[in-house]
Amino acid sequence: MNHLLLTLPFIVLGTVLILVLAMSDPRRRQLANKTHAENKLNVALSSNSRKLIGWSLVLPLIPLILMANYAGILMYAGALTTIGWLVSELPSSLL
């Protein structure tokens, strides 16, 4: 169970990064401006810093490899995939 718990912080970190990326997404903001007058969830970031954040999603792989937590790598990748999808899909279909 130990290596699973060690993977969780990375997944949480990945979720936060994806949320930041989603909120600072220029195209998403452009669309949001069109439909809703007010939108509170917004972070303005330059495209370079967004790129940096995007690349930093790869960083957790380094400690996971060092810890030989290969199951963690697979889970991290799978979790990012589904979290990224849910972050983009849920607000538009639920709210």
Partner: protein
Amino acid sequence: MNENASTIRSKAKALLSLHSWSGIILGMLLYAVIFTGTVAVVADEIGEWSNSNYHQDLLLTTDVNDTVNRLVARTPKEYQEEISAYENDRQQLVYFFHTHRQNPSGVMDEFGIQYLINAKGEIISQQEGFGSDIYAQDDSYALSRFLVAIHTELHIPSPWGLILTGILGLAMLIASVSGFMMHRHLFTDMFSIRTQRNGKSLKRDSHTVAGTWSIPFAILLAFTGSFFSFATAFGLPAMAVVAFGGDQEAMNHTLVGEQQHKSDAPMASANLNGMISDSALRQSSVPAFLSISHFGTESASLLAFYMPNKGKVGFEQLVYDATNGDFVEYKPLVGTVPSAGSAILSLIYPIHFGTFAGLFSKLIWISLGVAACYVTITGLQLYAHRHEKSETSWRWFSRMCVWGFVGLPLCSLSSALGFFVSGNMSLNQTMWTQLSFVIAAIVISALTLSIKNITRLKMLLLAGNGVLCLILPFLRFTSSGIGWLQAIQHNMVAMMFIDMVLLFCSAWCFYSLYTSAQFKHKSVLVENQTLNREEVAE
């Protein structure tokens, strides 16, 4: 320059038509395979849940050595070639004493006597036959086995079912690669879903966003899936023809990595319990199954099979010399020594099944499956939406979408219903699980053909799903008498997990029924308002 642009455009067009056709022709079958694949991730949990069971680690807690010695005394010599042992979902140990033989369909199979032994070491039942036949009639696995077989071969006779699922895997590969190649704004579009004027999200955007995110895993799952199908359907026999002159047994020996020279000279075997507990200590886990070869001879050996543990993703096989009980080696999945082929194979399994870190990884793999289902569903709906302009006509394609997308889960739930009801009435659960699926399919098809309004049809089927998801946990409770308090006491995680998933699905069904009812109400209101405004303007 101009020419270049036109080739790019024609290539994009070619990719789009490839993407749509691979999706449209095989989309519904692909959905069936992906949906049941998502369910198959938790096949073990469904097995435990359907029997309200929890693993008792009988391989460690009972005297395996004593049982094997007792059973050896009453089993014909020829079946003692190999003994496999595992715990089933009804708190029994299954010992299968067998040799290897070709079954009536010409495939190498295990043949021997299967004993069911309870926790006290008493023989509950014994049965002689081919391993595949005995497993196919085992009622305790009726539900999980039925659902998994939809995923692996759509219940079409071997090898055609496997070939079909292999082709579906290739179609999924084509669809995801072509989708990836033709989408030029992959990273700019991956967070945004446009909404239509009526407040619903745009199908096309939902499709591309879900598709974009799940591309890496869609490719991996499709690739590994088609490998499994093709390798078992014709790959392995073909390899036997080319590399072993058609000798399948010789190839199996090479793949399994058996020692070449077996001595049948009798020799007392060491205590099996010692080896089992030693392996459990090394893995700090419980073996999934044991395989004891040539028990009571000079070449006796024991293999303990473990699920991945401690951050590893591959299975572990610990081999012991059963004559003296010494640990020999960690055996690779195929062959006798570690190799690239074995390493790749031991990666393919966890990547496809998602069973490398218990429920945690399974949960993630289920979500990946749901995402892939969503891509298939939105893709086909998109096609239906674009090609059926008229709202009033029969709308064959949309109708088929509702029939398949909402109908298949309902059929699967019905098979679970059949499993429990037949179990309560002590009927043949294997037969009734299948039969209830078929009956549900017939009823749903009849409804699909008879209800003219597609929205009403969809809501009806959705309500059916919601009701069944709600009923099943209670039905499980009434058939076993094991409630959640007891489950918590005994740490029955798998059972509670499935119960909760069902309740969650039920809530989701009713929620989406509620929202679509609201939506309908709202759109009527909006229509009235616009009408009013138009009247005012006039």
